[in-house]
Amino acid sequence: MASTVNRIKTTTKISPMLDEYYASMAHFDCVAWCMGPSGYELMNGAGVSCFQAESSSARIAGGQAATPFIEYGQARGVSPDMCSYAKINLGLVLAELDERWDMIDERYRLNPPDLVVAGNICPSMMQWAHVLGQIYHVPVFILDYPFCYDSDLDVLRDNAKYIREQLENLKEFLLKCSGQKEFRGETLMNQMAACREMDFYQQNIGEMLRTVPAPASFIDNAFSMTPAISMKNEKAANFYKEFMEEMIERVKTGTSSISNERYRIMWRGNFPWFKIGFLSRLLAKYDALLVSGCYGTHIHQDSPANRLIPPDGFDLKDPIWGMACFGLGGGYVSNYEDKWKSEFVSQIENFSIDAVIIQAPHTCRPWTLTSRELCQRVEDTYGIPCIVLEADHTDPAYFNDAQVETRIKALLETVDARREEKARKAAAETDEFDF
């Protein structure tokens, strides 16, 4: 009989919280559209509100409203192979400029940018930012995150210094755009204090997923990433505190996420945000649970750059240094070996993983590159089955329910076959020693 899903109740607060947050941004005179790690923590202190464009696209996809915007954009020349976060956003922008209010839900209406800021974790971010700059005739600031070919601490420190210099420049740029005379250091401190607090709660939430059976699903965790990415304030910190407390209670009472946990799965890559409920139910149907992953929580993985931050958290007296280290530790600019260690080794070895799913999103090259090779490495290193699932993070055209179900079920059947083989070998060895 299929397991029932016991979703973390706190996560039901996300939608209204985000609706309120997006509505509150209308009060700012100066709006920055941001993509990638773009120094959001500096924005409010400079009198700028931050509209996180990828989160917005994920929200639209989660509301099953992505396709009309994607198609609208494609009809106007947006490439179908472009990052689908960008496709949704650009489609929505074009629809608004064409005054197609008939197709735009009030909740998704945009506050046009006064500037655009992007962290160049991939070429799509830069192109997306520049296109927006051209459409709205606003300045664009690109933060350059150097690729970490080396995990030597001195090299990483130099990289973080380079990012820090850019963040200082960004601060001045933001003040120029907003017209605010002075930067409000206290606002930044409060946001960074909230970030440090969120970090503490999220780490604990992640650690508790090691429990067998798990008190929550990694889907609960990843679904809840938006307040950490977009809001970074006291309200977001309180949300994660509540989430953590609910988890602690579940661990105390032995309450599990699904009623019969038989397979613990690691998910690597971003998520198909429009299929979160479907995935959750599909896995539970086969008594499987996602217990770990790296998307959204990658700042808490064993990224070598995190060695630049003291164990008790970054120094609040030097918040920009903390921002620079976090940006570097995000995983996007990590070399292959560091990715392997931080995204796979620590999770597979600590979360009792039975199988791994690597999502290869059709429109996201950073998350697709080397996926096949990583899959093989999981098999060779740990002897557990791994599949590469071709889907997408926000474009439904690249997701097929039946195909995904067949592949996931076949993965679980492979786990069963390996367990049977292990049992057969163990029985044969026992027979050998029976006199």
């Binding site: 071709e390 195909q403 067949t406 079920k409 076949a410 076959a417 083989e421």
Partner: protein, 267 residues
């Protein structure tokens, strides 16, 4: 004791009945059409008539194929993917086999298996008809032949032509333009078509790291042109069961029998 496996595919539906010693009692095949439950009913009826039993006499059933969920309530006790079923089915006929290539109507798979037909790895095609039976149907249509005849005639090729497109629809245009080129032997184009299928599926074979002996299952296994092209590329004799289209249903029946035995603590 009677156990049943039903494979509801995009093109055909097969049923296999087995006894407790895994002896095949009956097999059937019908076109699936759009009414899956009717196809299942029909396929079961044919088998039951052969054995002289009713569906009520069947102790345990497993469904597989893309229609496996829909028929679960009425016709099966449990469902498994085609991967698990083809693995078991291939192992039944060829216990020495360590790989299965299944090319069905709308998808292809490469499955690595162990000595008891357990899955050790697999790879499937994604969201594309190239490398599937559908691709061959389209190409056979252009040639004005049925798929089997196109396979036989492809063996007469002397210099296969490269069909490079990865999309079935674009490949159709490519083949039409090749046919209109003066001096191009249609047999060479037919061989090129089969090699195109094999090139696509060979990527799955490499991903799943299949090692010989390798079995081919599914309807396309009856196509001599595809089989030869695989043997050329993989440099090994491909094993073909007598009825490759029923391998999925056979594997499902074996799983049904095993599951029943396991649940009832029988040896």
């Amino acid at each position: 004791m009677i156990f049943a496996g039903i494979d509801i595919g995009s093109t055909t539906t097969e049923v296999v009945l087995l006894d407790e010693n895994k002896k095949i009692l009956a097999t059937s095949q019908v076109l699936t059409g759009f009414a899956l439950e009717e196809a299942a009913e029909k396929a079961f009826a044919i088998c039951c008539e052969q054995v002289g039993c009713t569906r009520a006499d069947i102790l345990y059933s497993v469904s597989t194929g893309y229609g496996r969920e829909l028929v679960l309530a009425e016709f099966a006790d449990e469902q498994y993917t085609e991967i698990a079923c083809h693995a078991k089915g291939a192992n039944y006929w060829f216990p020495e086999a360590r790989g299965v290539i299944d090319i069905g109507g709308q998808d292809s798979k490469a499955i690595a298996i162990n000595d008891v037909g357990g899955i050790t790895g697999f790879a499937m095609n994604d969201k594309c008809a190239a490398g599937t039976g559908r691709f061959l149907d389209v190409m056979a249509g252009i040639m004005g032949l049925d798929v089997g005849e196109m396979g036989r005639q492809s063996l007469l090729a002397t210099k296969p032509v490269l069909v490079s497109s990865i999309c079935t629809v674009f490949a159709e245009s490519e083949v039409i333009s090749l046919l209109s080129k003066k001096g191009t032997d249609p047999h060479d184009i037919m061989a090129g078509i089969h090699e195109s299928v094999v090139r696509r599926v060979n990527m799955l074979v490499q991903k799943a790291q299949l090692i010989p002996p390798i079995v081919m299952s599914g309807g396309v296994a009856k196509n001599a042109g595809v089989v030869k092209a695989f043997e050329d590329v993989l440099k090994t004799k491909i094993l073909i069961p007598e009825d490759p289209q029923s391998i999925g249903a056979l594997g499902a029946a074996i799983l049904a029998r095993n599951k029943y035995f396991s649940k009832n603590n029988l040896n």
